[in-house]
Symmetry: C2
Subunit: 403 residues, 2 copies
């Protein structure tokens, strides 16, 4: 059976060149960078600093502005809580969007329990935050705004640069969760106007277990973990040296190959966007159809439950995501789909197809062949099948034809 | 030049068998365990669960009692803050020792800022906590006690089982930082009587970037990072799958090979302990000479600054540690040495020699040959050299001869 991985937004495989770069740091250059008085530690420290330069270059930052973390989740926790605690003397109001990742959303809720006030900005039906809404929500107590660069579930790219010019003019700190974009599309911190930015290595063919927080030089932050003096006293714990080296290599490759990767992804995406509505009825895209990640298509299909679709596709060798890429802690409907107005009864039901550099047009054709059969099978499980579903023709205007 | 690594307490190289076990999880079985509805994610999830069993077996725990973290520092932060916050309804008093790792010490200080009261137990001149002191320090507000299993800097093994029987009788939660012992000497949670225990993979030939918190079944904890539902909702963030697999393999090897590794280490240690005082004057061991890690020797030498010694030893190809294995955030004298009564002017000056499974008796002989020369060189830099240091004979009773 053909095997097709279409879940790159959840995680990517490490590039073999990345693994090769990491290997010496497991068994040979295995020192702890904190022990840099001897050669073993010093070599490890130098490798970490070289990787820091590469990660900084990817987003046009300075090396000293990169704080390595163990995950995007840790970077987001650190940005939201660490910045809020460091700047609470100026005010205790924070603004985030409704569709942030759980690591932002639940950290904000934790801050509410600590006496902070949080505004949750609505998004439109395409998943877009309106920069005017950001401007209106800022008050004299506002110290921090966090809006994600792109949403993993519905693929929409938010107007970060526009929001950045507003936050800069108003003197409010601005963080963006760029886990779904850094290393995938151009992300330059000065152009975006952000003070802090979260990223993770396994989103762009680096290894799991390493992420980074960009923090603009001169911005204070309170460490959320306590311990040693690693990462300039801002993040303790023994560095994951092979992981950091791997993320550095992945960042270098992403910078050099980004344009060709994007050029490879867009035709795959656009083929799917053009073909899907022609082959399926009851079909609905999610997220803005143009302002979206180059390798990302997301949709839902009436009467076909998302998790069931994922399972049936898996039986055919195809891996896609349903709902959020990370497991929902509360097993409720996806907060992202709810926010864009998807009816609550289908909110477990969206499908996220995300492509990577190793996918081919044949993979897309295979998916286009399999999906309608799998959907039909789902529909046949519905009590409404005979009376309602079966009878309606494809392309009847009941959703789907938006391209 | 001969190269000798004697800093295993700071970090170990990954075992080649560990790296081999990890490799498929970078590029082939690369899925995200949270995406376990498809085969890529499911295979990764299964690998994580297999590793969890192996880590649990190492310390005679149940798999569901193992929470994977990214570091020992994170495990310690989570244990101290997470347990304190979860159980503060019963009281707000915590007990730790003076010689805990920074990740425990500074987390406790953070809790003080949040209204908790912390008792810092003194240790004796050998670095030992007196269980009677623990018993006396417990009051009706005490909810948590954290005493490290062995101190990385001075090698002393604390009477955890005795303390565990006290905490159990008094109904107080007991955590131990076992980063320096788990995977190295027998660590069985029931025998120790602990409710929580921190460990890290790179201490026992696993990779960096992965640790674990043992939490006894039924004990509540508040997650310190917020986000997805990974690790039973107790620790969010995409799993470092290759790292977890590597820690699992390292745990399996440690369990199977522990006795032979210890039998290999003890003669190396004891040779050094017996020979050093015969070859050096102004020599002082630190930490209890018998109740110590099998591969650990620590000492200081009057008039010879520790960091200088480490550098001079490094020029001779020998890697040892000075002071704490982790960089001190405040560059003050080592809090551990201060606690055992080492004079403040030498508190930057201790040397920690720690052996691993790949060291040989020839390595020890080389060290015994090099160290006196290097110390002599340090002494010659002292303004006291001609008048005081040079004239005194070896074995003059001025410290050192304690074996």
């Amino acid at each position: 059976m053909r095997r097709v991985y279409f879940d790159y937004v959840t995680t990517t495989p490490a590039d073999p060149r990345v693994v090769e770069a990491m290997l010496p740091f497991f068994t040979e250059t295995f020192g702890n960078p904190a022990a840099h008085l001897h050669e073993y530690g010093l070599k490890a420290k130098n490798a970490v600093e070289e990787a820091r330069v590469k990660v900084a270059e990817l987003i046009s930052a300075k090396p000293q502005e990169i704080i390595f973390t163990f995950s995007g989740t840790e970077a987001n926790n650190m940005a939201i809580k660490g910045l809020a605690l460091a700047h609470q003397g100026k005010g205790k109001h924070i603004i985030i969007s409704e569709i942030e990742h759980f690591s932002v959303l639940y950290t904000a809720r934790d801050l509410e329990r600590m006496g902070f006030k949080v505004t949750y900005l609505k998004v439109d039906k395409d998943g877009l935050v309106d920069p005017d809404d950001v401007a209106k929500a800022i008050n004299r107590d506002t110290i921090l705004i966090s809006i994600m660069h792109a949403n993993n579930e519905i693929g929409v790219i938010e107007p970060i640069a526009k929001i950045g010019s507003i936050t800069k003019a108003r003197g409010v700190l601005f963080h963006t969760d760029a886990v779904a974009t850094a290393g995938i599309i151009p992300v330059y911190v000065a152009e975006l106007g952000v003070d802090a930015l979260s990223m993770v290595g396994h989103a762009f063919y680096g290894p799991k277990g390493v992420g980074a927080l960009y923090l603009r030089e001169g911005v204070d932050i309170v460490p959320i973990l306590k311990g040693g003096a690693q990462e300039g006293g801002r993040r303790p714990g023994t560095d994951n040296v092979p992981g950091i080296v791997g993320m550095g290599k992945a960042a270098e490759l992403a910078r050099l190959e980004m344009n060709s990767r994007i050029e490879h992804l867009i035709p795959l995406r656009d083929k799917l966007i053009h073909e899907l509505p022609n082959r399926l009825k009851y079909f609905h895209f999610t997220g803005h159809i143009l302002k979206r990640l180059p390798g990302h298509v997301s949709f839902w299909i009436s009467f076909a439950e998302g998790e069931t679709l994922v399972l049936f596709l898996n039986y055919n060798g195809i891996a896609v995501a349903s709902g959020s890429a990370c497991s929902s802690p509360d097993l409720k409907a996806s907060h992202v789909l709810t926010a864009i107005g998807v009816p609550p009864d289908v909110c477990h039901g969206s499908i996220t197809v995300s492509f990577g550099k190793d996918n081919t047009m044949e993979d897309v054709d295979y998916f286009l062949d399999v999906l309608p059969k799998v959907v039909e099978k789902c529909w046949q499980m519905s009590p409404l099948y005979d009376d309602e579903i079966k009878s309606r023709p494809i392309n009847d205007g009941q959703g789907g034809i938006r391209v």
